[in-house]
């Protein structure tokens, strides 16, 4: 399968590239607004994977090109660029490309981070609103700490929650997430349930802030 990580030069993109690169045989397409930046990231990820004795199957592209070739395209961009990125790649998507949204809107103050969704309810739902109607939109990978995800020396045992209205697409993304070693993908229902999933992201960051012994906090649902 071909997995595009749009905005794949950021930390969530890096983490997913390294984990999918090490743990699966899928082809990883790193997308960026600047293809040169994508190719630099690919070089860096390739070296990290080589240190794990994994031959990298990672390539760099402009976001549009990465989306065009992908079976699954992950919007690994900051939350306030999600809408623009969807519009940029809209012509390169179709019913056979699953669009995956991991971004979360947050605002910080002295107390910690707070969930700050767009008016439509959640970033995941914003993606569904902006994407072409025939493109299946799935929320996943929201609550994974980049610090753990990007460090391949960390063997984790974490859960991720998957939301979506298209059951086939949701199952495919769950199966894909389960291919990452130590990651368990659970179903959290339709897109309408995405706000509660997203709001766990500021929460895990707050827990790390207020408990000395904890960092890069993740979740197990038990």
């Amino acid at each position: 399968m071909r997995i595009a990580l749009l905005g794949g030069t950021g930390d969530i993109g890096e983490g997913l590239a390294l984990r999918f690169g090490r743990d699966t045989d899928h082809e990883i397409l790193i997308g960026s607004r600047d293809p040169e930046k994508a190719r630099d990231a690919v070089e860096s990820y390739g070296k990290a994977l080589e240190r794990q004795r994994t031959e990298a199957n990672v390539k760099g592209f402009a976001n549009e090109m990465a989306a065009d070739r992908a079976d699954v395209a992950v919007l690994a961009v900051p939350p306030y660029h999600v809408g623009d990125t969807v519009e940029t790649v809209a012509d390169n998507l179709d019913a056979d490309t699953i669009l995956v949204s991991p971004a979360v809107g947050m605002q910080g103050d002295e107390d910690g981070l707070h969930y700050h969704p767009p008016g439509v309810g959640s970033v995941t739902e914003l993606v569904a609103q902006r994407a072409p109607d025939e493109v299946p939109v799935i929320g996943a990978f929201h609550n994974l700490a980049a610090g753990k995800l990007t460090d391949l020396e960390v063997e984790f045992d974490l859960d991720t929650l998957v939301v979506g209205d298209d059951e086939d697409a949701k199952k495919l993304v769950r199966d894909l997430a389960n291919e990452i070693e130590g990651l368990r993908a659970l179903d959290a229902g339709p897109l309408a349930n995405s706000a509660e999933v997203e709001s766990v992201t500021p929460l895990v960051i707050n827990i790390a802030k207020y408990n000395d012994e904890m960092e890069d906090v993740g979740v197990n649902w038990v």
Copy 2:
């Protein structure tokens, strides 16, 4: 210590009464709008604790009387009665009584449960707004499934998140929660962080709904 469970005839009150009753030596005061109902609950909890070979230290009162005698008063009432209950017991609270809020506002539809906080931001913050100024307000016990809490045969290994602006009161409630076997209390920061804590409650219910193998879902922060 004296722990009042206001509205302690409901399932969260029952669960906390049984767990505190079995795992600690604290005096448990069950409060209800109807003292007769409180005494019936006490009889039922006493029998459940006897089956665990624990001598019950549980008594029943009207909410006002339970609050008046308490060191810690837990608002174990449905979310839309929290404000009224605080007003009912306000004259029985003072700076030496910690008020604990575990309730969460939710609305359900065919997709699942959704977080539905009051305008002030969260039920925990509503309690802080309605309580007399000198009374320390702490949020805790939000995300515990009643089904697990009330069944003493279930040995759980769960986390609860504690929020509050009064550090001494927060520490006391954390220590108290940690006395329940298998429960770990983590600090999630000030009251301003309570909405993200509360919104985990509809989420755990949705996870139970959409994953066949799971029920009475709880959380470990790892």
